[in-house]
Symmetry: C2
Subunit: 190 residues, 2 copies
């Protein structure tokens, strides 16, 4: 998606260790108009899939997920990283964060993932694929099939797509900006 | 706002300790259409204020904030509860969570709050007011005036509005559903 790629080139910054900083417009300060356009593109890309619910993970996935849910007229659930007092029973899994270099636990209340619900997973980044596979594991526990996974930015050199293909061979995977290299501080798209 | 009040009566649940559980449509599973309507109402309520930026806090504030930012055509910043690797310099404050009964640290990068920017704070709940006053403290550090604060749900019996009035006497405070009592599991609106 050209608008997103252009914005990454304009405002994204490469940090040491294969990190792409996009907190100017995606994951700290958010450009709502851009997020809306990205969500519209997700709707187009997954038009052939019947989707009952969108699943994302707090916090950076929420903006593109909530616009997509609005456009596609389906509920949006965000997985949480800490169990609040008010959550009774939950599906639980463990995810390794590449950016934060630690494991964390991810939860969805059993009330909000139901057997047979066809799920679209949306998140800001596809890197190693651990968050996506963790969300898919919550869906598996709920017996809810994952129809598709949509990412704003994919760092293709970190292998996440292969991990997803192995875990979810029937799911459609789409990324709006696919980066093949961040070497020497240069952002290269596929 | 009748639509939100009706939904709270339909799907909200009272838990012991003055907790209103709305994770069916606001803060775990989200009804995007309802969030959009709430944001449109914020736009209407704050129409007389010139707003340059919306500030919220992860994670439940993001959905109403990002729709409001889209409608009002201003950037949205969400304060974070843990410093990521990729954040260099930040405004920092401490907030006490009523629901989780603990203190936590809240950050906004210095890049995304600038002197003179007129801020609208949006969040899902106004209870004791600690999160709101914490966000206002980040704005104060940045020398960015808080023009208004918009909440989906106010628990008026927890005194948050008074705390805000003391800290921000010139700011406009609006809540779309004001609850005066949750005693005996009954939701009473003002």
């Amino acid at each position: 998606m050209k608008e997103l790629q252009d914005r990454i080139l304009k405002d994204g910054r490469c940090l040491p260790g294969g990190i792409l900083k996009v907190d100017n417009f995606i994951n700290h300060q958010m450009d709502s108009e851009l997020m809306f356009h990205c969500s519209a593109e997700f709707m187009r890309l997954f038009a052939d899939r019947k989707i009952d619910k969108i699943l994302t993970i707090e916090a950076s996935g929420i903006a593109p997920a909530v616009f997509a849910g609005w456009l596609m007229r389906v509920p949006v659930v965000f997985a949480k990283k800490a169990v609040p007092k008010t959550m009774d029973k939950a599906f639980v899994t463990t995810v390794h964060s590449f950016t934060k270099n630690r494991d964390y636990t991810v939860f969805v209340s059993r009330e909000y993932l139901n057997p047979g619900e066809r799920i679209l997973i949306i998140d800001d980044f596809l890197a190693c694929g651990n968050a996506a596979v963790g969300l898919a594991d919550l869906c598996r526990q709920a017996d809810a099939p994952v129809e598709g996974l949509g990412f704003l930015v994919e760092k293709a050199f970190q292998g996440g797509r292969d991990l997803i293909a192995k875990a979810l061979p029937d799911a459609q995977v789409e990324s709006l900006a696919v980066i093949t290299s961040l070497d020497d501080g240069q952002i290269v798209f596929s």
